[in-house]
């Protein structure tokens, strides 16, 4: 029997026409729309701006400007700080929720999982817009504070601050963080926890020495999926951030809009991708140190 199966393995009979047809859509999208398009950005980053689509010459001037103009250092640093704060805030607040889902939720687990992932599928623009009406001068928060007698005057202090950007982004990307942590926690063998408590570990020790290290791959994955979209965001700074919250994504956007210097915008994009690559490598390294099971 096994000899017959061995002689008629699927690979032996797989038709090349089927394979080609099945590989074609994915190959077109990944090679053309992802790799070739990113290659274009890289190419454009080394060109000079003459108003034409692909620029002229071959130059490192764009990167020289990014490296020497303190404006770009300030904005990059600000983007990193804002994205870093948002990442830490979302991961730290999401962890207990994931922990509850994995170990305590019981029969409500399915419903709770659905409830925490549902906002993920609602409009990002509307979630940011919601914060604009909450934080505005004559908005929800100010009026509620005055109504309840806590404050007598509306304050401008909420809107158009970097803090508003951090809160809004943390809220907009909160659902991203729960799922990876939950998956990591859920795959920890229950016997590991029992062994820890049998061997006399107090709940906190068991958490610190067993649960937390084992969930690190999920935590790092969560940090990554929050960090990447936030570091390049330009909508939230424009809606609730004001001029003091300009982020690197806003600069890229304006190079392809008002400023109309595509090669320079491409160079900024390459810098962002390099920063993300660095963060991914650090996360990979940390993942390995924690003895990843994935």
């Amino acid at each position: 029997m096994s000899a017959i199966i061995a002689a008629r393995t699927p690979e032996a009979r797989s038709s090349s026409g089927f394979r080609a047809a099945m590989l074609l859509p994915g190959a077109l999208v990944t090679f053309l729309l992802i790799l070739f398009a990113l290659g274009l950005v890289l190419f454009l980053a080394f060109r000079g701006n003459d108003g034409s689509l692909l620029g002229v010459g071959l130059t490192g001037e764009n990167f020289l400007t990014v490296a020497t103009d303190p404006l770009y250092w300030t904005v990059t640093l600000r983007s990193l700080i804002i994205a870093g704060l948002v990442t830490v805030a979302t991961v730290v607040t999401a962890y207990p929720v994931a922990d509850y889902l994995a170990f305590h939720a019981g029969r409500q687990r399915g419903l709770l999982l659905f409830l925490v992932t549902l906002p993920f599928w609602t409009s990002y623009l509307l979630r940011v817009f919601a914060w604009k009406i909450v934080l505005a001068y004559n908005g929800v928060l100010n009026s509620a504070l005055i109504e309840s007698g806590i404050w007598s005057e509306p304050t401008l202090a909420f809107l158009n601050t970097p803090a508003a950007v951090v809160v809004t982004l943390a809220h907009a990307y909160a659902p991203f963080a729960i799922l990876p942590i939950y998956v990591a926690l859920d795959t920890i063998p229950k016997s590991l926890l029992e062994a820890a408590s049998d061997l006399g570990a107090k709940p906190f020790t068991a958490f610190r020495r067993v649960v937390l290290p084992n969930s690190m791959p999920g935590v790092l994955a969560a940090a990554l999926v929050v960090f990447v979209p936030t570091v390049g965001d330009y909508v939230t700074p424009a809606m609730v951030g004001g001029p003091a919250s300009t982020m690197i994504g806003s600069l890229i956007q304006s190079q392809f809009g008002k400023a109309n210097d595509w090669p320079f915008g491409a160079a900024l994009s390459v810098c962002v991708m390099l920063v993300i690559l660095l963060v991914v490598l650090v996360a990979r390294g940390a993942d390995r140190r924690f003895g990843s099971r994935t």
């Binding site: 729309l33 950005v41 509850y100 925490v116 992932t117 390049g232």
Partner: protein, 266 residues
């Protein structure tokens, strides 16, 4: 552990309130009889919903969003099905590479996806257009459709496919008559989620839209005018309701029929 769980339960409740409260303010103030979104509430009205009716710019954007969403979701679902199927059963480095690259957009900020496609569509002569938006949204939805389809295909016992092949079905027949029908709920789920992603997407579409805006771009253009704020909230409420319904249905579909195959996971 039990007491621990109760405190944690309260925390989860507070977390859910934080997650939903700002979003639910949009429907709340969409029924409020005032231009300002502020307390105290001024009384119930449906007038903002009435302003949605008979607005050609709005209905044009809606039609655009629906058409683009349907086409982009079809493309992303097709790619999700083929990429994940070949990744699991194709046994070729090329298929594995394609699958890995298909999930790469998660690691690229939307602004860079947007500008890279903007350069591409200008290079091939398309320029910002509805076709460009469709391409962008296929890309943005691709990681989701690949992940949904891959987990579904992986949940079908290996023996099912092997039996079909051993009984003489060709690769194509096995895929079309066995594997695809078994994954139909996931296909629908992937399509609906991809449609939602396209329907709500703003960051990438901002760069790729020509003269015909989608619904999120229409909302963005209205945000400049304080007077149209209540109309935006009425529109936002309708969009949120549709998103909740589609996402809920997709979630139910994704888990449906898994019980039969779960007994024998591979």
């Amino acid at each position: 552990m039990k007491r621990d769980g109760r405190w944690l339960g309260l925390y989860v409740l507070a977390y859910l309130v934080f997650l939903y409260l700002p979003v639910l303010l949009i429907p709340l103030f969409s029924f409020n009889d005032s231009i300002q979104a502020a307390f105290p509430l001024q009384g119930f009205t449906l007038q903002w919903y009435a302003t949605l009716h008979g607005n050609p710019a709005l209905s044009g954007a809606l039609v655009n969003s629906l058409v683009i969403g349907a086409i982009a979701a079809s493309g992303a679902t097709l790619c999700g099905i083929t990429v994940s199927y070949m990744d699991l059963y194709g046994r070729s480095p090329l298929a594995a590479t394609i699958s890995a690259i298909a999930r790469l957009p998660i690691l690229i900020p939307g602004v860079i996806v947007g500008i890279s496609l903007l350069i591409l569509v200008n290079l091939v002569g398309l320029g910002p257009s509805r076709v460009a938006i469709v391409l962008g949204h296929i890309l943005v939805a691709l990681p989701t459709t690949v992940v949904v389809m891959r987990s579904r295909f992986a949940a079908i016992p290996k023996t099912v496919r092997e039996a079909a092949l051993d009984l003489g079905a060709s690769d194509w027949t096995t895929f079309r008559r066995v594997m695809l029908p078994l994954s139909l709920p996931a296909v629908l789920s992937a399509f609906m989620l991809a449609f939602l992603i396209s329907f709500d997407e703003f960051i990438v579409v901002f760069f790729l839209a020509g003269t015909e805006p989608t619904l999120p771009l229409y909302i963005w253009s209205q945000l400049r005018f304080p007077r149209s704020l209540p109309t935006v909230m009425a529109l936002g409420t309708a969009i949120l309701a549709v998103s909740f319904i589609i996402a809920g249905t997709a979630e139910i579909l994704r888990h449906r029929g898994l019980g039969a195959t779960r007994r024998n996971p591979t």
